[in-house]
Each structure stands twice: as structure tokens, then as C-alpha cells.
């Protein structure tokens, strides 16, 4: 919820005239207004918003009003019972509106109490809390106009997996500035790695290692998925290095083309891989299915008193907070853990020595080389780290679907993931997360819902549209890419540094130009 009141002093003193960027200018103008006008405008906005929300959902409207009240209590001088008043407001609200929106907004209230310097952690923590609890309140959420119902938990898993991939691609595209148009190749590698070692694909070998939920004498290789996630990541990173070593010295646009080439070759190999010299590697267009299930096995399950489920697919009789836990929920939480891991690694990498080297290369390759940064090694690391997370995501998603098909790895997917990174803001992990979740949702449910809404609600004269909106998904991504690149190349939630580069332009001329080196 963006608030013009802000409730907090601005980060930098507006009097200094440090007003770079639209947001800061607006903020400075805002704080130049008299206190009373500001109060009036923001209360008016909030009340207006509440009235608007009233038509959508009563809980949302009351919640917004409560937030307004909380904000203005906060601005009062520190009177003795201020905190008590705030708590009382929240309690009254929760009693009056026990529905899920109340829980959602409770987190919003929590944010208004948090001191400025802890805000950095509050937003991610609140987001995480909302995400963890999502399966509990998803079915009780209100219907959004146009977009329809909130995504179900299976869509949530899909979104998390794609967010993970987008965060991985962000390392390559956002941090290191290497355009990778074949990221789907890594996704495919991860998925097939999981499929090979946890299915009936190789019936002449029988080898079990910690697999759950299957007959221990079943043919084929069955390794526990937990190990396979790691193996898939490492294997994909290795293939990233193998692809990267000969190609990363190419200049940017050629590199894009080469990655695109790999992204086209790999699915074709998967499609034709049912008789590679007579050997059935990928089972061709039929794909590899089913895969073994995730699970912790009976020993761990009983050790933790059933908290860790033995097998995700045949689990769960527990009812928590009035919600019957399902296997999809378990997959959702596991995906969340994996995503946390990805985000953690990505954040730690960003300002590490390696991350700073990536930024240097992105901004000026020649200068970076002159400063002693080994170009090839640094770029290869970017490639490998990006590939690592792509591989894990691919392996996990294959496990969730219990199948992997060559048709899942089209070029569109590469562009789709790239679109997520661009929309959110190249180089800024929070932006990428927001962009990726939104686009993944659109792809899975949003476009279909929106299309249904358009078809049933829009009539121009006697004309009733009968659009198959999901059919035009790639065109819609095309429009998003075009509009974002033309008008806001730094993305919705930009990284400051990247925004400056994209607006001022940087010299990304490589050390060696094929034009001059090849002459």
C-alpha cells in the first residue's frame, strides 16, 4: 500500500535539492506543502480508497480506514497511551473482521510500528509471512476485479519456481550484464537431470538411494530428490561453464545469439533423444514421467514426530488453523525454502567481491579488465551461478509436475523469464521478484481470468469480443518488453545504479571487437 503521507520523514533532506528521479521530486514537492494540506490530502485519499474498496470487499475497506487512523495516531506527539490506542484499533478490527484480509492487514499495521532502521527487514519478513501463510487464507480471499480469484496454491508453486529462475537469470543479465536468451536450456538440463535419476527411464539399471514412496525393487535409478536438486544445480552449473567457456568472450549481442542457439538445440535434442544412436536418453516427445515423489522418508518423519512428512504425495491428514494440509501446500513451502536460499545467495553475491566484479564488467569491460578483473573467469562464474539456480528450479518443477516434456522448453520460456527480469528491474532482486511473480501469475491464471472477464463484461455496441487471451501471451510479453525498454528501461522497481547506466548510457564496447580483430 503506497501512501502519500508516508508517515515518516524522508530519507534525505528535501531542502538540499537532491532531487534526482521522479520519485524524489514528488517527495520533495510533497514535503514542501503545509502540514494541514498534506493531512487533508492523505486522509482524503485514504477515505476515497476505502470507499472504492467498499465495493470490492468490506474487510479491505475497513482495513484501509483502520490504517489511516493508525497513521494519524502515529503522527501525534508521543502521548502515554498511543501504543495502547494502536493495539486497540487492531484488536477491534480483527474482532470485527475476522476474515483473512484482517491477517493480511495486521502485517501492514505491524509495519507502521517498526522503526525506520528496521524497515529493511520488515518488508521482506512481512512478505515471507504472507507467503508462508498463503495456503491457509488463499481460499478465503476476496475476488479482485478483472483478475478474478487469487491464484491457487499450485499456481503459487509455479510462481515460486519462476521467481527462482528469474532471480537466477538476474545474476546473469542484471548483475553481469550478459544477455542470455537461452536460459531455458538450464531449466531443461535441471529438469532432465532430476528425471533421469528419479524415474523408470533407465530400466536396465536398478539403484536406489533414499528414494521415498516406491517399491524398493523397482527398476531404474531412484535417488532422493533432495540430493538430486543439488546434483541438478551442480550439473547445470557445469554445463553453463562448458557452454560459457568458448562463448563468453564474444561480445554482447553475439553471446545473446549463441545462448539462443543453445536454447534451441537443447529442446530439439530432448525431443529427438529417444534414439540417440539407438539409446533412449530422453524418451522423446513423450517425455519422462512419472518422477519419484519428494519426502523425508519414514525415519526422519518419525524422528520429528511426523512434522516432516515421509512422502509428499501420500501425506497429510492434519488440519491446521481450519485448513486441511495438502501435498500441494508442502510443495509450496518447499519451493519457498528453495527460493529463500536463492534470494539469500543472490543478495550475498551482489556486493561480494565477485558481485562487484560483475558490476564493473557490466559498466565498462575495458576499464574492468584494466583494473585487473579476469573477464573470462568472472563472466563464467556469473553464468555458472545463474545456471545453478535455473537447474535447481528446473529439477524442482519437474518433481512437482512429476514429468518433464521437451515441449516445456521453448524459446518463449527464455523470453518469458527475461521479461520478468526486465519488468521488475534488472539488477534489483526485489523488483525481479515482484515482476516474476506477477508475470508467472498472469501466465498461469491471470490471462485466462482477464480474458474471461473481458469476454463477459465488455460490449462495444453489438460487438462481443471472443478473445482467447492466453493465446496471445507472447505478444503481451512483447508489448511489456517494448514499453518497459522504451519508457522505463530500469524496470518497475529499479536498482539505482542500473537506472543511471540505462539513462546515461555506458560504453559497453568490448576489449576486442570482431570487426577490428577479424579484419
Amino acid at each position: 500500500m503506497t501512501t502519500p503521507a508516508g508517515g515518516t520523514p524522508p530519507a534525505s533532506d528535501p531542502a538540499h535539492g537532491d532531487e534526482i528521479g521522479l520519485r524524489n521530486q514528488i517527495r520533495a514537492r510533497w514535503h514542501a506543502l503545509p502540514e494541514l494540506t498534506r493531512a487533508g490530502i492523505s486522509i482524503g485519499l485514504f477515505v476515497g480508497l476505502s470507499i472504492l474498496f467498499f465495493f470490492v470487499d468490506h474487510a479491505l475497506a475497513y482495513g484501509t480506514l483502520t490504517i489511516t487512523a493508525l497513521f494519524w495516531i502515529r503522527r501525534l506527539p508521543p502521548v502515554p497511551y498511543r501504543l495502547a490506542a494502536q493495539v486497540a484499533l487492531v484488536v477491534i478490527y480483527l474482532i470485527a473482521e475476522p476474515r483473512s484480509v484482517g491477517y493480511v492487514l495486521a502485517v501492514g499495521f505491524a509495519m507502521t510500528w517498526v522503526p525506520q532502521r528496521y524497515r529493511t527487514y520488515t518488508y521482506p519478513a512481512a512478505g515471507l509471512a504472507l507467503a508462508v501463510l498463503y495456503p491457509f487464507y488463499q481460499d478465503r480471499l476476496f475476488t479482485v476485479p478483472v483478475f478474478g480469484v487469487w491464484p491457487d496454491v499450485a499456481t503459487g508453486v509455479y510462481m515460486l519456481v519462476f521467481v527462482m529462475m528469474a532471480v537466477g537469470l538476474n545474476i546473469v543479465v542484471g548483475y553481469a550484464g550478459l544477455l542470455d536468451l537461452g536460459y531455458v536450456a538450464f531449466y531443461a538440463t535441471g529438469a532432465y537431470t532430476a528425471a533421469w535419476f528419479a524415474s523408470l527411464q533407465f530400466p536396465h539399471t536398478t539403484w536406489h538411494f533414499g528414494a521415498v514412496g516406491i517399491d524398493p525393487h523397482l527398476a531404474g535409478i531412484h535417488v532422493t530428490i533432495w540430493l538430486l536438486l543439488l546434483v541438478a544445480g551442480v550439473f547445470t552449473a557445469l554445463s553453463g561453464i562448458i557452454i560459457g567457456l568458448p562463448t563468453l568472450r564474444l561480445r554482447g549481442d553475439y553471446l545473446a545469439i549463441v545462448t539462443l542457439g543453445f536454447g534451441e538445440i537443447l529442446p530439439q535434442v530432448a525431443r529427438n533423444g529417444d534414439s540417440l544412436f539407438g539409446f533412449n536418453l530422453t524418451n522423446g516427445p513423450n517425455g519422462i514421467t512419472p518422477l519419484d515423489s519428494l519426502g523425508f522418508g519414514h525415519r526422519l518423519s518419525s524422528l520429528t514426530g511426523g512434522f516432516l512428512p515421509a512422502n509428499y504425495l501420500s501425506c497429510c491428514s492434519a488440519k491446521v488453523l481450519g485448513h486441511q494440509i495438502q501435498s500441494t501446500d508442502l510443495f509450496f513451502w518447499t519451493a519457498l525454502v528453495l527460493l529463500m536460499f536463492t534470494i539469500f545467495c543472490s543478495l550475498r553475491l551482489q556486493y561480494s567481491r565477485l558481485g562487484r566484479a560483475w558490476i564493473a564488467i557490466r559498466e565498462d569491460e575495458t576499464a574492468a579488465a584494466a583494473m585487473g578483473i579476469p573477464l573470462m573467469r568472472t563472466k563464467t562464474w556469473a553464468y555458472a551461478s545463474g545456471a545453478f539456480f535455473g537447474g535447481i528450479a528446473g529439477a524442482y518443477y519437474a518433481t512437482f509436475k512429476s514429468a518433464t516434456f521437451p515441449g516445456d522448453f521453448f524459446f518463449n520460456i527464455s523470453v518469458f523469464i527475461l521479461c520478468m527480469v526486465i519488468l521488475g528491474g534488472m539488477g534489483n532482486i526485489w523488483g525481479v521478484i515482484v515482476g516474476a511473480s506477477f508475470l508467472a501469475y498472469l501466465n498461469q491464471e491471470g490471462l485466462a481470468n482477464t480474458g474471461a472477464w473481458i469476454n463477459s463484461n465488455i460490449h462495444v455496441g453489438g460487438w462481443h469480443p471472443n478473445l482467447d487471451v492466453p493465446l496471445y501471451a507472447s505478444g503481451i510479453y512483447g508489448v511489456i518488453i517494448l514499453v518497459v525498454m522504451l519508457f522505463r528501461p530500469e524496470g518497475l522497481i529499479p536498482s539505482r545504479r542500473r537506472a543511471a547506466e540505462l539513462h546515461e548510457g555506458v560504453h559497453d564496447e568490448p576489449l576486442y571487437d570482431t570487426a577490428s580483430a577479424g579484419a
Binding site: 538445440i265 573470462m376 496471445y472 505478444g475 512483447g478 576489449l511 576486442y512 570487426a515 577479424g518
Partner: protein, 350 residues
Amino acid sequence: MAAEATAAGLPERLPRPSPTTLFGLVLVVLLVVWLAVNLVKTPGDFFDVLLIGLTTGCVYALVALGYTLVYGILELINFAHGDVFMLGGMFTITFSTSFFGLHQGQGFAIVPIVFATLVLVMLACGLLNAAIERVAYRPLRSAPRLAPLITAIGVSFIIEDVGLAWKGPNYVPAPDIFPHTNVFSVGGVDYGWNKLIVILITVPVLLLLLWLVQRTRQGKAMRATAQDMDASAMMGINVNRTISFTFLIAGALAGAAGVLYALYVTTVRFDQGFQLGLIAFTAAVFGGIGNLPGAVLGALLIGLIQAFNEGLNWHAPGSDWTESIVFSILILILVFRPEGLLGERTPEGG
């Protein structure tokens, strides 16, 4: 380019490592042996396939020239180019059947109709391509090089969906009007008129393009802009107009290719442009991007490779593997000889 393997970056060019050359030579030798065995085993098929390859190569050449022209002047891989070509095919179907009432069995009446369609489609695609440049690439000319590349992908997807919305998700049939009678038939090798007509249209278009680039004032401006944009602006060349003109020409070539493709293959589908565009781009890189004769040579070679792969009997991988082979060639070329067969047009060489 190869010298950069030493990350420390010595400025002078190191000698090419010999294993690379060896690897390339082995590949070429294997290819020649494979072709020779096929030639001996089934000479009839071999020449049939050769002629088919030359014909598809001609269509590729027209598309590849568009990539090369644009790359030469802006150093931009115009991903949308293949989709402009696809729209050209759709324009062809609409113009020729709806406007001119083209259908099968009209005898020589098809000649003016095909000609008029060709002109109209070339014009339409040229204008479309110039418009794309104006909207999607010109605002980003001073941005980092990857920015217009990303918008190019976006535009490509948009045009693809325009084709999808316009003509639907299925193959759109085009009138099969080129006569299939044989020009000659020697020892089981048939050469149909439909193949000859493709070449008969391609060659004059190519000559026209060469004349335009080499002999006219506008062509000179194009070459100058490709060499140095700032310097040509100082010399009084209207750079923006020259770039627009280049896109117009490139689009017109894609349009011509679209006409030939639609009438020769007789089906068009909305997603064919991107794939064929990538193959044509490979051809342009193969010959040396920025180099006009190189693009034609590369296109003919790619056309031949594709036809041999799909048409020969003895140990040919078959059409399932065409894209993999073409993209492997692309990757090998970019990695081992990024300047292509004939050499990239250098800033100095014009």
C-alpha cells in the same frame, strides 16, 4: 577475437590455436566424404536435393541480406526481421487472392499479378520495417547495445501475434500458381519451373540491391553511415533518414522473400518467421555479417546443408535435426571464426 582467451588481454593478435583449425578441417573433410558417398550411391537424389537447396537458399539469401544490411549500419540483430518476412507471406496471400483474384491455372496472366503483388508486398514490408525502426530502435540509439536487442525480441513477439490474430494459428494455404512442369529432366533429375522462377525473381532483386548500394548516392550514404555515423553526419548526410532507408530496403527484401516463400512453399504460418529468420541470420553470420555477397553465399550454403540433411539417404540426420545442425553451425562459426567465411565488413573496408 580468438586472442581474448588470454584474459589478461594482450593487445596483439595471437596465432590461432592449431587444434581449432584441425577440428574445423576434420569436420569439413567428414562433410565432403559424406557428400561424396551420397553422390556415388544415389546421384539422382543428390542432384535433386542440390537444386532444392539452391532454391531455398535463394529465399534465405533475401532474408539474410536484410539482417546483414541492418547489422552493417546499426550493429543491431533485428530479431523482428524474420517476422516481417512472415507477414510478407501473409500479405502475399491476401493481396494476390483478394485484390487480384489469383488462383490456380491462369496461364501467363499470373505474371503481371505476381509482379504487382511483389511490388506491393515489398513496399508494405519495407514501410513496416522502417516504422519498427522509428518506434522501437531509434529512441534507444544511445542506450547500451543490449537495449535495442531486447526491444527487437519484443517487437518480434508482437508481430508474430499480429500474424496469429490476423490469420489464425493454422497453416494458411497460398495459391499454388507456379507451374510444376519441368524445365529439364536429365537422368531422373527433375528441375521444375517453380524452382527456376524463384531464382529468376531473386537474381534481379539481388542485382538491384547491389546497384543501389554500390552505385547510387543513397547507397554511398548508407556505406558512409555504416562506417562512421558521426563523421557522416558531419559530412551532411542525414543519418536518421539513411537508417530509415536501410530498414526500408531490408524490409522490402524480406517482403520479396515472403512472396517467394508463400508461392513456392504454398503455406505460411504465424510462427514460421522467427525460425526462418534465425536460420537466415545464421546464414548472414556464416558469410560474414555486414558483407552482402557473404550473406548470399552463406544463405546458399545453409540452404544446401539443410536440403542435404533432409533429403539424402545415406546417414543423413534428417529433418528432425535441421535446427540443431544450423544452430551448431552458428555457434561453431561464432566461436571459431566470428568474422565469417568472407569476413565481416570492417569499418575501414566499406
